[in-house]
């Protein structure tokens, strides 16, 4: 059967030990192979399982350690070539694997689509057909509900606004085309079109940026604690961990042994990086070396820089400030219970716009303020998570990425002086893609817009 290759996470979402991302279709094996470092999957026997590493094609980095099962048609669930990628359970890994598969040419499966394919290819017998239809109905309805719930009202409003903006632009071009001698409509020029697409592109990019925030909500905010020895880093970590429920997971194998701990601070999940290192040696830099630590710091979403109130500011402290100054940091002045030797004014000057929190962790003082500051950093002053416009649904992110691509194609077209009615093909595509996000892609509305926006006729 001639079909494209679909993919989806086929294990329940949650913190299972292992999760599976499944691919089915004519290109299942070649797609899997293109993102897999290990054996050549195109060459392996059918129904075999292989250990290897998953490559993120964007960065070329190793993303995950995986076990991949290759099952060739016809003896598979869908009777197509099927590949199952077994990865580390948990949302972080599994979403990443899914996204990589999508970026490599697979399409996100519709609800119930694997089962539908199984049926269409004769794998499921006739008596089960009704069950399949029920399944499609139920899964679609549920997926729609979930998608609707995931999409907060503001996102849907924002998308509608963007679509309206595009629609007006499209109607404007259409009117120029269908009513060429109609003189009180300005001719839509490439410049006007460029301006409009630029506006929409910016918004789409911003939405994709919030998708990153949505991802942080799922995956945790990578957080590193740094400071000179003996300033209270492990006390800080213990305070955060003891205050909050911690989940310790071990990610073996890749390039380093890292123990990650998750703590939930005011609704913001923190993923504490290299806490093992801190625990053992009290110092991340000391433990993993300067180069590695710099890399860790660059990957972190949040850095907690700890200072000692009872000590004067040292050159080392200043170097730390320099190293992280353009990152997202919170400065913690610990040991407020000691005699003051630290020049607080100097610290505030060095910290610039970054928050400075005073604590006495040994007496459990200042933890509240710290947690507020962490929440503030993430929500940018907006503490209520439900109030954010962010995109979290993988399907939505996919569609937004495609919309972004279409807008860029339109802009490239304009750069090449392609006629506006041809550029419009990509703008129309953008409008349709955004419509898919909110479940509305009816073509008629363009014609409605045309006649409500312009006075036309004989």
């Amino acid at each position: 059967m001639e079909m494209d290759t679909i993919t989806a996470i086929s294990t329940p979402m949650g913190e299972g030990a292992i999760a599976i991302v499944r691919l089915s279709g004519p290109e299942a094996v070649s797609i899997a192979d293109s993102l897999f470092r290990g054996k050549d999957l195109n060459q392996v026997e059918t129904h075999t399982m292989h250990y290897g590493k998953l490559i993120d094609p964007e960065t070329g980095d190793i993303a995950e350690e995986v076990m991949v099962s290759v099952m060739r048609a016809p003896k598979t669930f869908t009777r197509e070539d099927v590949v199952e990628i077994n990865c580390h359970g948990g949302l972080v890994s599994v979403n990443r694997v899914l996204e990589i598969a999508l970026a490599n040419g697979a399409r996100l499966a519709e609800p119930g689509e694997f089962t539908k394919r199984a049926f269409m290819n004769g794998r499921i017998d006739l008596s089960q057909a009704e069950a399949v239809m029920d399944l499609i109905r139920a899964k679609t309805d549920r997926a729609m509900n979930v998608a609707l719930k995931q999409m907060d009202g503001r996102l849907s409003h924002l998308i509608q606004d963007l679509r309206q903006k595009l629609l007006e632009t499209l109607a404007h071009v259409e009117v120029n085309i269908d009513y060429p001698e109609y003189d009180d409509v300005e001719e839509m020029s490439n410049e006007m079109m460029r301006e409009k697409t630029r506006e929409v592109l910016q918004e789409v990019e911003q939405l994709l940026e919030t998708a990153r925030q949505g991802k942080i909500l799922r995956e945790g905010l990578g957080t590193a604690i740094i400071g000179r020895p003996n300033v209270g880093k492990s006390s800080l970590m213990n305070a955060l961990v003891h205050e909050n429920k911690a989940i310790v997971t071990e990610v073996p194998g890749t390039t380093r042994d890292v123990i990650e701990e998750y703590v939930n601070v005011r609704g913001v999940p923190l993923r504490l990086i290299d806490t093992a290192g801190i625990r053992e040696t009290e110092d991340i830099v000391e433990r993993i070396g300067v180069e590695r630590s710099r890399q860790v710091l660059q990957e972190a979403d949040l850095i907690l820089l700890v200072l000692n109130y009872g000590d004067e500011l040292t050159e080392e402290d200043k170097k730390l400030f320099e190293a992280v100054n353009d990152l997202n940091i919170i400065v913690i002045v610990n040991k407020m219970d000691l005699d003051p030797k630290l020049d607080l004014e100097e610290v505030k000057r060095l910290a610039g716009d970054h928050p400075v929190i005073s604590t006495a962790l040994i007496r459990e003082e200042g933890i509240d303020q710290l947690e507020n500051a962490i929440a503030d950093t993430f929500f940018e002053g907006d503490l209520d998570a439900g109030d954010m416009t962010y995109v979290s649904n993988v399907r939505h992110v996919q569609l937004l990425k495609q919309a972004k691509q279409a807008l860029e194609d339109a802009q490239n077209g304009m750069d090449m002086d392609v006629p506006i009615d041809v550029v419009q093909i990509d703008v129309t595509r953008t409008w349709e893609l955004l419509g898919e996000i909110i479940g509305d892609a009816v073509h008629e509305s363009l014609i409605d817009q045309l006649f409500s926006q312009f006075c036309l006729g004989k």
Binding site: K116, A129, M133, P419, V422, G457
Partner: protein, 629 residues
């Protein structure tokens, strides 16, 4: 009481733009065809604006020509002016528009009809359709002539229960005071065919000698000879201009003050009018911030003084029409020769039709043109052509023809009509086509000539010429693909003269042609073709090479769409049997009865889950059939 007036394969009721194409196409396919019309002096009459073509519509005329229809050839011989529109935009939206000489158009079309083999032209009013067991058997005229045929095409335009309205005056009439048909409309309704009431309108015609053209702007035709038909070889060079003037605040005040007298606003009109063709009173009410509206003064022919006042369509009383014009520069002293009016009429709800334009209710009964809820001569002609082709197919057991949305505007229009229906008189717009780039004015022959030849409406001789053109295009594209242009002085100079940046290294001629500023002519000078190529061939090569990327993208999309279009839905499908369909989808599918899964997916109210379920159900049927064997 009736007498047997003869047997035919196809009977066409009406000889408007739909009727003539239907009759000609059926006859060309070899069907013995009868065409009945109220008035033989008014075949292919234009009751509204004296023009043919324009964006989308002009492409339809070319498509009709590529399928062997008459409209393009006739307008090529009878226009007073022709222009290529949207020349500054891309190739996909260029379109021809001709100003017609109305009386001459009629005369020429009548000649074409009279010289068509297999076609009988006769004046007569059809009173009744002969129907037995939901199959059409023939028609009876008011003079009691009974004509028998297995297929009948109704192309009665706005004549069914037509009613003309001017201010508070209202009377039963077809356009231009012709007789209207009441019994036909009643009978269609009795037969169970759903009807709807639509409305349209037309402006006044004025005497050219009473217009002061010095207060207007001239709108000349083009010097460059243009043509709709690929068979046209002689061009009309003495073109007659149109003129442009404007309404103003004073005009608008008169209209506003007398709005209550307009049939549109006094409640006399119940039918739905088209948004794209509003009356002047509509424009002023809906867009009251506009200080002025354009008025084009269009001659109705070479040998008449009548001028069509495009932009002033109205149902206001005649004396207000006069007052209104007194405020418009150039029209202050204009004498009305015919007043503007609104017309209401019955039309068939087009979702009651198959994509062949046969009614679902009555086998062998076809409808085409304005009766199907469209507006425009070109839309009517396109449907007439298709109904003629398919009625002949049914009568003679030949191949039917359904054009898809990626092949033609005609296909887009018919698919829209029979799949989605329409809430207002339907007009083709370029934005209705999702594959506009493929449905170009310049490639109508490449899209459809092959089909026309296969169904017998395109002659062998024309087909040979077409194949030759196609061959030359392909060869020239291939040649340019293989030519490498080095950055020689000559090449760099030619590029510079076109306003481009010089070459850094050798390139393929096709790659150079893809540069925005580059034209085929320039390339051809650098690397001349050994054979001489026509302008049309050169144009094709340029467009196909320049837009390769976009065309490829469109072709990929079409490929995906086709997969669903080729999944046919069994005719005997019982939607009530299908488990899991949403109620709305079920109701709509039962009404539309789409022929393919692709068509089903375009029915409003049918969502992707319903389409999946439908696919599963159909597949289940296939499996059942296979295992039952």
């Amino acid at each position: 009481m009736t007498y047997n007036a003869g047997h035919y394969d196809v009977i066409v009721i009406g000889a408007g733009h739909a009727g003539v194409e239907a009759g000609l196409a059926a006859a060309k396919r070899g069907a013995k065809t009868l065409m009945l019309t109220l008035n033989l002096d008014l075949v292919a009459f234009m009751p509204c604006n004296p023009s043919i073509g324009g964006p989308a519509k002009g492409v339809v005329v070319r498509e009709i020509d590529a399928l062997g229809g008459a409209m393009g050839k006739v307008i090529d011989k009878t226009h007073i002016q022709m222009r290529l529109l949207n020349t500054r935009k891309g190739p996909a939206v260029r379109a021809l528009r001709a100003q017609a000489d109305k009386p001459l158009y009629i005369k020429e079309m009548k000649r074409v009809l009279e010289s068509q083999e297999n076609l009988t032209l006769r004046q007569g009013m059809v009173e009744k359709l002969l129907v037995e067991d939901d199959e059409i058997k023939g028609v009876v005229t008011e003079t009691k002539a009974a004509y028998y045929a297995p297929t009948v095409i109704v192309t009665t335009g706005t004549f069914m229960r037509g009613r003309v309205i001017i201010g508070d005056l209202s009377y039963e009439s077809g356009p231009n005071n012709q007789r209207t048909s009441v019994s036909l409309s009643e009978q269609l309704e009795e037969l169970g065919i759903e009807m709807v009431r639509f409305k349209t309108g037309t402006p006044m015609r004025v005497n050219s000698r009473t217009i002061d053209y010095s207060k207007t702007e001239i709108q000349p035709g083009e010097e460059e000879p243009r043509f709709f038909s690929y068979e046209t070889t002689e061009f009309i060079t003495d073109q007659i201009p149109c003129w442009l003037t404007y309404t103003n605040e004073e005009t608008h005040k008169i209209i506003n003050d007398n709005l209550g007298l307009s049939a549109m606003y006094s409640g006399m009109i119940k039918g739905t009018g088209p948004r794209y063709c509003p009356s002047i009173e509509d424009k002023i009410v809906r867009f009251n911030d506009k200080p002025r509206h354009q008025i084009f003064l269009e001659p109705e022919g070479r040998d008449t003084e009548e001028v069509y006042v495009q932009g002033l369509s109205t149902s206001l009383p005649e004396y207000i029409q006069k007052e209104m014009m007194e405020t418009v520069p150039g029209l202050e002293k204009a004498e009305i020769m015919r007043a503007g009016y609104a017309i209401e009429y019955d039309s068939v709800v087009p979702t009651t039709l198959w994509p062949t334009l046969e009614t679902k209710k009555i086998g062998g009964l076809f409808t085409a043109g304005q009766i199907n809820g469209t507006s425009g001569y070109e839309e009517a002609a396109g449907q007439g052509l298709m109904a003629g082709i398919n009625a002949a197919a049914k009568a003679l057991d030949l191949e039917t023809l359904i054009l898809d949305r990626s092949q033609s505007y005609i296909g887009v229009m018919i698919d829209d009509l029979v799949t989605k229906g329409t809430d207002e008189p339907y007009r083709l717009l370029t934005s209705r086509a999702e594959f506009r780039l493929m449905l170009r004015h310049d490639n109508a022959d490449l899209r459809l000539t092959e089909i026309g030849h296969k169904i017998g409406t395109i002659s062998d001789e024309r087909y040979e010429r077409f194949l030759e053109k196609k061959r030359l295009i392909e060869e020239e594209k291939q040649r340019l693909e293989n030519v490498i242009l080095k950055p020689t002085e000559e090449v760099q100079a030619a590029i510079e003269a076109s306003g481009g940046s010089p070459l850094k290294e050798a390139v393929r001629a096709t790659d150079l042609l893809r540069r925005p500023e580059m034209k085929y002519d320039v390339i051809a000078k650098l690397t001349p073709s050994e054979v001489s190529l026509s302008d049309e061939v050169e144009e094709q090569v340029e467009i196909q090479v320049k837009y390769t990327g976009y065309i490829k993208k469109a072709l990929d999309q079409i490929e995906r769409m086709r997969k669903m279009e080729t999944k046919t839905i069994p005719e005997d499908i019982d939607y009530d049997e299908i488990h899991g369909l949403a109620t709305e989808a079920r109701d709509r599918l039962k009404q539309v009865r789409p022929l393919s899964v692709g068509q089903a997916s375009r029915v409003s109210g049918v969502n992707p889950a319903d389409v999946s379920i439908l696919l599963v159900y159909i597949e289940q049927g296939n499996i059942a059939r296979v295992s039952g064997e």
